[in-house]
Symmetry: C2
Subunit: 421 residues, 2 copies
């Protein structure tokens, strides 16, 4: 291990140059060795994690956060299993994205290559340490991991085990490193390591992501803030709409693809809203509505502007009645974080208008918001869900962890003699 | 026209929402109207340009820069013709990049969509104003143009003509706007308009690009800095290597894909270097070499570290002898800007090692550096050549001016009932 972020990044670049030319067989072998080592060394990992958990509990940390921080034998086995699943995914490196022979005989191929060095900044979830290391390794990238300081002891132990497995597999240990130091300065240094770090991916809440975006001069992929809407169109089947709304909100409320607001066309409000309020109440959801919704029930809490702006990530949902599909699109354009937007409708014209005009990573017709997910989309593991438009948008799997280069093979072509333009 | 960058960006967002759902036919009609209008209104454009040129000459501006700033009837016709050529390119918007039916029956499509609002920051070349407007329009994006203040009068006239043509074609004039104000502050405001501007693309020299990268909090695509190398391997054909080197350096020295350094394997140096020095001298090129090159001729200027670091963009080239292909790769890894790197070799093993291990937008075997170009690659017009790894790398055509979104069509799927994971 090294002492400064720059040292770590330089070591990562060296490792990345080796990884870039590794075969899939070498990388898959290392992934299996990493999985085996985690299970074998579970006692060491549990001991380290117990220290973090004890400190978090002593500090009065929220029980939900402590639960995400906690490792158990079963969780370690499931983390190891996830690494084994990555071996089954195709290697994106070397894939020819496009190619042709140019009129002057040059053979042009655009080929996937690793980014090089990927930085991941995340919160107190030790499983992210291993997931990110595995996905970066499979895609040929060295990774710099900056987890929460509250998981420092767990992450140190996990990374030590992964590095030992890399070494025993003949791959460079510096392909997986913890960012040295757990002060805010080490994050800043990572975000400013231009030329050394090829991309930083923040995984966490809105505040973490905002800090990264504001302070980075290295390229960033924003992930995971989901202010997702369910729009119930005039032509919706009300029963289906209720079912989709409840699934979108309550099936797992703490995640980015949970719904945070529902919009109802005025022509269906009298039929839909009472059913929806009852079903949401049964699911334990509090509805924060404006006057148009409050008219249907005394249980509705008066909505503020912030109810439409922010993610709840809890059993709460904002709601309003809109005059038209256009008004729904305008509301979504104003408040959406560009993650997932759903329309429930039987009308082909409404579905087509909504999918064409709503600008989000995923626009869904007649299904739950909860399907925006790398696993559900069939991509295998995901490193996060991009809510930006550059490079990748939506669930990011292994191909999204790569860049490309053009390889051009000639036999003496010059522009003076062989220009095509 | 509006008064602040934020106002302009807000107006651009409105225009972008309209453009996103325009058909190719509408966009191509507008492009033809723009081309016709430029030719019809050439006298107005020439008058405006004459003002800029007179001011530049009075200020003692370098004649090369004045020449790039100058419009003529022939240049206006050629700029208009370039717009017409864009109509022949396929519309990237709506292209299905991938798609499948998921195990639970959801129909998943990943579809190209416009970015939305694109900012272009560039130097005193009025043709870029029109090229960028045309490519952004065809890809469904609204554009905010920030040219050099020395071309302000020309750009104002050009954009006025383009906006009139948009209006007459039924498209929103605010799809093409000059960034208001020509102070440094207006650039900063553009670079910080997060949430309003989807991407900024700087086109110009190293200092312009560095300023943009350091100060932007909106996503940026770096372009065009090319510290390109030609490596002459031990197994090169010396005659071919000389021809490729001269073409790479001298065919058009002022552009980013011109060569700036050549590296020679020691085993071929005695044969190659004298021929190369003679041919470069004949082409008017000054060679800046270290002792390993100076040994061959008194004409060689002693190279400093900066000779290997910077782009000349002139009839100068740096040179050194290396001990091995590994040493050439290490030199390139240290100094390359990641644009274009060439190997000249007859050896399949050397070509394979070089293309695998050199990390650049384009790695070329046995052809000139000068082929890294959207036109030469067959992409039609290009908006620039990306030297970063995120989103796009190498020549950027219309598809690189788009993002994607996932459109998912279901018939009532919920995670509670229909999860595939």
């Amino acid at each position: 291990m090294t002492n400064t972020v720059t040292d770590a990044a330089l070591a990562a670049r060296e490792a990345a140059a080796e990884l870039a030319v590794c075969t899939r067989a070498q990388k898959d072998r290392a992934l299996r060795a990493m999985a085996d080592a985690l299970v074998e060394q579970a006692p060491r990992l549990l001991a380290a994690n117990a220290g973090d958990v004890a400190r978090a509990e002593a500090a009065g940390t929220d029980t939900g956060i402590v639960d995400r921080l906690r490792l158990t034998q079963a969780r370690i086995e499931s983390i190891a299993e996830a690494l084994r699943e990555v071996t089954a995914l195709p290697d994106p490196v070397g894939e020819v994205v496009r190619g042709s022979t140019l009129p002057n005989g040059l053979e042009l191929r655009q080929v996937r290559v690793p980014f090089g060095v990927v930085g991941i900044i995340y919160e107190a979830r030790p499983n992210v340490t291993v997931d990110a290391a595995g996905l970066c390794l499979k895609s040929g990238n060295a990774v710099l991991l900056r987890g929460s300081s509250s998981a420092r002891e767990s992450n140190t132990a996990l990374v030590a085990v992964l590095r030992e497995a890399l070494t025993s597999s003949g791959l460079p240990a510096d392909a997986v490193q913890l960012v040295p130091g757990d002060t805010h300065d080490s994050v800043t240094e990572l975000l400013r390591a231009r030329g050394l770090v090829d991309v930083v991916i923040p995984r966490g809440g809105a505040a973490l992501i905002r800090n990264v975006v504001q302070n980075a001069i290295v390229p960033v992929i924003e992930t995971g803030v989901g202010n997702c809407h369910v729009y119930v169109d005039a032509d919706a089947d009300p029963e289906l709409a209720v079912e989709l709304l409840v699934d979108s909100k309550a099936q797992r409320p703490s995640v980015c693809n949970a719904a945070e607001t529902f919009l109802v066309h005025k022509d269906i409000a009298d039929v839909f809203v009472p059913k929806a309020l009852e079903a949401l109440k049964d699911a334990g959801v509090t509805v924060h509505g404006d006057a148009s919704i409050a008219a249907y029930s005394a249980d509705v809490v008066a909505a503020q502007e912030s109810d439409f702006e922010d993610e709840y990530l809890s059993l709460d949902i904002a709601a309003t009645v809109v005059d038209s599909l256009d008004a729904a699109v305008a509301h979504i354009r104003k408040y959406s974080s560009g993650h997932t937007e759903v329309i429930v409708t039987q009308s082909q014209a409404a579905a087509r208008a909504f999918t064409a005009r709503v600008d989000a990573a995923a626009v869904i017709v007649n299904a739950s918001t909860r399907f925006t997910d790398g696993g559900e989309f069939g991509f295998g593991a995901e490193i996060g869900i991009s809510t930006q438009k550059l490079h990748a948008r939506g669930p990011m799997g292994l191909p999204e962890l790569t860049s490309t280069k053009y390889i051009v093979i000639g036999d003496g072509q010059t522009r003076a003699r062989n220009a095509s333009s």
